[in-house]
Subunit: 224 residues, 2 copies
């Protein structure tokens, strides 16, 4: 039996996702809710990073999580069990991304009562999620060391739309041919303002920097 | 200056990709060409695996490679430099997958003269490429140890359509929480006939088993 709410997301009917995403962002602004869209390849460590980040922030702000996956509920259950915050699973029915209307369907299924921060863990995919504005205030992504430092060359749009690139699995750097300087250079070709945050989600090392960035973002969103 | 041919793939006009893929497979059968569609997440080691595999097979059969990427030509250049076989780069123009017509565009740009085996390295993505029959005789995929053994639960279609699942980066098994028995169990939920081949592409360990499978496949395709 699943311990979390599971939402079967329906395909969007809106023709212009950009307009819809702008509307959703305005709605969230009015409600004082900050939405973060977190993207990455499969297996880069999104869920583990979220658990460590949420545990650093949950006593300071009210947080909820939406886990998007084609199938399975393991991530939403894990988030709920290991952080205690509200977590729901969005099933995309085979779809490779979420757009603004699909994100709205998820938001409307969050438990009642205010939240300051909703984190959307998008489908593990470096291509399609980058093409659809979810209505989030910011996009962030995780690139893990085993994936290689050349990924910004191969998946340009993903790195262009993200303001923060978390570099995860820094603990296995000695076993892989990953050059952090080259990675930084390639990321900045795509987005010169992007901030890189090296972490090891497994041990928690470096996660504080990501949590601090996020907390500052949420406070600015609510106060400006 | 690029050392390889780069093809900008155009969007397909065919409504029914399944019919088109069947036609392409028949054409390839008539020409005695075996097409393998190789898929994986970004950074799982497709190109390195191909280089090691091709170097084991290139004196036995004639091989060509089509590298599909949204951007960059680094993979096609690397294949050509490190194996000597004909290699072309397909740019998908932002598209997240290849279908049969896009594959046909690539095949028509391969150098003249017969080949026995064409390997298509699909876009790094565990979602969309699984939805489109490329016209290949077989689908194979690479799952690397750092990605985790739970991927067949999260990306069901990809594991359903693949006959071979190469488990790469076995050398870093001690540093990751990856359970090969569980992975095998999860893969077989999706496709009970799927064959798992553990390898380390970096050192070449285990690649011989994949090369042997592929050689047997090519011979059977040409002779039956």
């Amino acid at each position: 039996m699943d311990a979390v709410k599971v939402i079967e997301i329906k395909k969007s009917v809106f023709a212009d996702n950009d307009i819809d995403a702008g509307n959703l962002r305005n709605e969230l602004k009015d409600r004082g809710v900050y939405l973060l869209n977190l993207m990455s390849s499969p297996g880069s460590g999104k869920t583990t990073t979220l658990i460590k980040t949420i545990n650093l922030l949950k006593d300071k702000i009210r947080i909820a999580v939406m886990e998007a996956d084609i199938d399975s509920n393991v991530d939403a259950i894990k988030i709920k069990e290991e952080t205690g915050v509200d977590s729901i699973q969005l099933h995309t029915g085979g779809m490779c991304h979420l757009d603004a209307e699909m994100t709205r369907q998820g938001l409307s299924n969050l438990p009642d009562g205010g939240v300051d921060l909703v984190i959307l863990e998008n489908v593990g995919n470096l291509v399609c999620p980058a093409e659809f504005d979810t209505g989030a205030v910011r996009n962030a992504m995780i690139l893990s060391v085993p994936e290689g430092h050349d990924k910004p060359l191969k998946y340009p749009l993903m790195f262009s739309v993200c303001d923060v690139v978390v570099i995860n699995k820094m603990d296995v750097l000695p076993y892989f041919d990953f050059d952090l300087d080259k990675c930084t250079e390639y990321v900045h070709i795509r987005n010169p303002r992007a901030q890189l945050i090296p972490i090891c989600a497994r041990t928690g090392e470096g996660v504080e920097a990501f949590a601090e960035w996020l907390l500052k973002e949420v406070k600015e969103w609510k106060n400006n």
